[in-house]
């Protein structure tokens, strides 16, 4: 991950570079980030953190994490990505109720009288959740007292501006300018 820190205080810049790396690694988000731009202005105070994700967070359908086949009236599902197992089960329970969904083994599920096409399209994860997690991690890196925040999200880029009192138009403009700088040659 490439991190650029801009700020008036050398000590603070280095401390925040370290903090940002540690918090992101601790939360398992460092691998999802390609680039980060941290703008620190403690005199304001105004902090603008802008990150570029490696890939655009997208929603997942049930078919993306399973293989599905139909035998007569029964639909057999095999989980191929176990990370989504809880979401797969809860989506199926919601659609068919617990009595019709039979989990035979850790990875195999059978559904009586299921609709193959409908099952394939059931959503199991939205891209919004992934984005929310990144935003949460960024909030955790920002100083605690800087509570008034303004978020900008566009494709792979997420920018957060945070200040202590009112988020003015100038702050929004500044955040947008940094957001656009980061955007630069990135294919959003």
């Amino acid at each position: 991950m490439e991190i650029t820190v801009t700020g008036p205080e050398e000590y603070g810049n280095e401390a925040y570079r370290k903090l940002f790396t540690e918090v992101m690694s601790e939360l398992g988000k460092a691998v999802t980030l390609e680039k980060a731009n941290l703008f620190l202005d403690p005199a304001g105070p105004l902090f603008v953190f802008s990150v570029v994700l490696r890939s655009r967070p997208e929603s997942k359908r049930l078919a993306d994490a399973t293989s599905i086949r139909t035998e007569g009236k029964e639909v057999h599902i095999t989980i191929t990505d176990e990370n989504y197992a809880p979401e797969i089960l809860s989506a199926l329970w919601k659609q068919y109720g617990r009595t019709r969904v039979e989990q035979q083994t850790r990875f195999d599920i059978k559904i009586d009288e299921g609709d193959d096409d409908l099952i394939r399209e059931l959503p199991i994860a939205s891209g919004e959740d992934a984005k929310q997690e990144i935003v949460g991690a960024l909030w955790r890196t920002l100083p605690e007292g800087i509570k008034a925040r303004h978020n900008i999200s566009e494709g792979r880029i997420i920018t957060i501006a945070a200040t202590e009192e009112i988020v003015t138009d100038e702050i929004k403009e500044k955040a947008m300018r940094i957001h656009n700088e980061v955007k630069g040659d990135v294919d959003v």
């Binding site: 401390a15 100083p143 509570k147």
Partner: protein, 304 residues
């Protein structure tokens, strides 16, 4: 401080008593036992031999008999729970009783505040270590958090702030907000530096107290109070905590003030030679501040 097992610890306690020493703090955790003691210098060698014989080790603890507050703007995950806990632990290793405290509204550059209650609580301790963050301008802007604190303040921050020397007794830079424990060799060195600084600040305070000495040493009152029923029955880990100029008793004031005030110390009532007040933390503990000899003499003169 003796640090070892519980095995044959009664022999150790007997020896402390025999050589005219005092047990300042005694903590037992399962089979582990630590005793902070004050003994005459000439008995040190014998005591060290005894401690090694019973399978423990002994070390000098310069902060024994003090209670120190380690204060941060908040104890939230955002701030500095790691340095605060590490500093508190380092001071504990040096013999102090430490308390970790987060302010209710301490975060933020322009919005940080400290209430009168919080100041009152901090003033009950022998010294306060304030731990602030990574930006010089923010640390300098937060001087109002400690400028009205009457006990010695040691400021620990990231960068070295300017113009705060008159508001605190010592400033140590190079810590600040961080998300990891202070485990590296340079971190350990920094913790030792903080501990040494606290020790030197308290040494100065001790000297100041010695100029007009307190009427009786807190350890003597502790010995007296140890025989008091509610203290003996108290289940709190350290029901009596020594301060440089008094003690903290972790029993309710309302029920015990009369009995404690009437205890006899060198022919006088404890209530006549000490100021006893309820702790600002809650009503389950009280603070005894022993008067200086001159204060007691003044009081005597007023009576006659």
């Amino acid at each position: 401080m003796y640090d070892g097992g519980i095995y044959r610890s009664n022999e150790l306690l007997e020896m402390i008593e025999d050589c005219g020493g005092v047990v300042i703090q005694k903590t037992r955790s399962a089979q582990m036992f630590t005793v902070t003691m004050s003994i005459p210098g000439e008995d040190r060698e014998g005591m060290e031999k005894m401690c090694t014989d019973i399978g423990g080790m002994v070390k000098a603890v310069p902060l024994a008999g003090t209670e120190i507050a380690v204060v941060g703007p908040t104890l939230g995950r955002h701030h500095m729970p790691h340095p605060i806990c590490d500093i508190a632990e380092e001071l504990r290793q040096a013999g102090a009783i430490t308390v970790v405290m987060g302010l209710a509204r301490g975060r933020g550059k322009a919005t940080s505040q400290i209430s009168m209650d919080e100041m009152g609580i901090i003033n009950e301790y022998d010294a306060a270590v304030f731990v602030l963050g990574n930006f010089k301008s923010c640390v300098e802007a937060k001087k109002h958090l400690f400028e009205k604190i009457s006990v010695p303040v040691i400021l620990v921050s990231g960068p070295m702030p300017d113009g705060l020397e008159e508001y605190c007794e010592a400033i140590i830079s190079g810590v600040g907000r961080r998300t990891e424990r202070m485990r590296l060799p340079e971190d350990r060195k920094k913790l030792e530096e903080i501990s040494e600084k606290v020790e030197s600040v308290l040494r100065t305070k001790r000297k100041a107290i010695e100029e007009d000495p307190i009427f009786v040493h807190p350890a003597e009152i502790k010995q007296l109070l140890e025989e008091y029923g509610p203290i003996k029955e108290s289940l709190r880990p350290a029901p009596i905590v020594l301060h440089l100029d008094g003690l903290r008793l972790k029993i309710p004031m309302k029920e015990n003030i009369e009995a404690i005030s009437n205890m006899e110390v060198y022919g006088r009532k404890l209530g006549d030679i000490a100021k006893i007040s309820e702790s600002r933390i809650d009503d389950s503990s009280m603070i005894i501040r022993i008067m200086t000899r001159s204060e007691v003499e003044d009081k005597d003169n007023e009576k006659t």
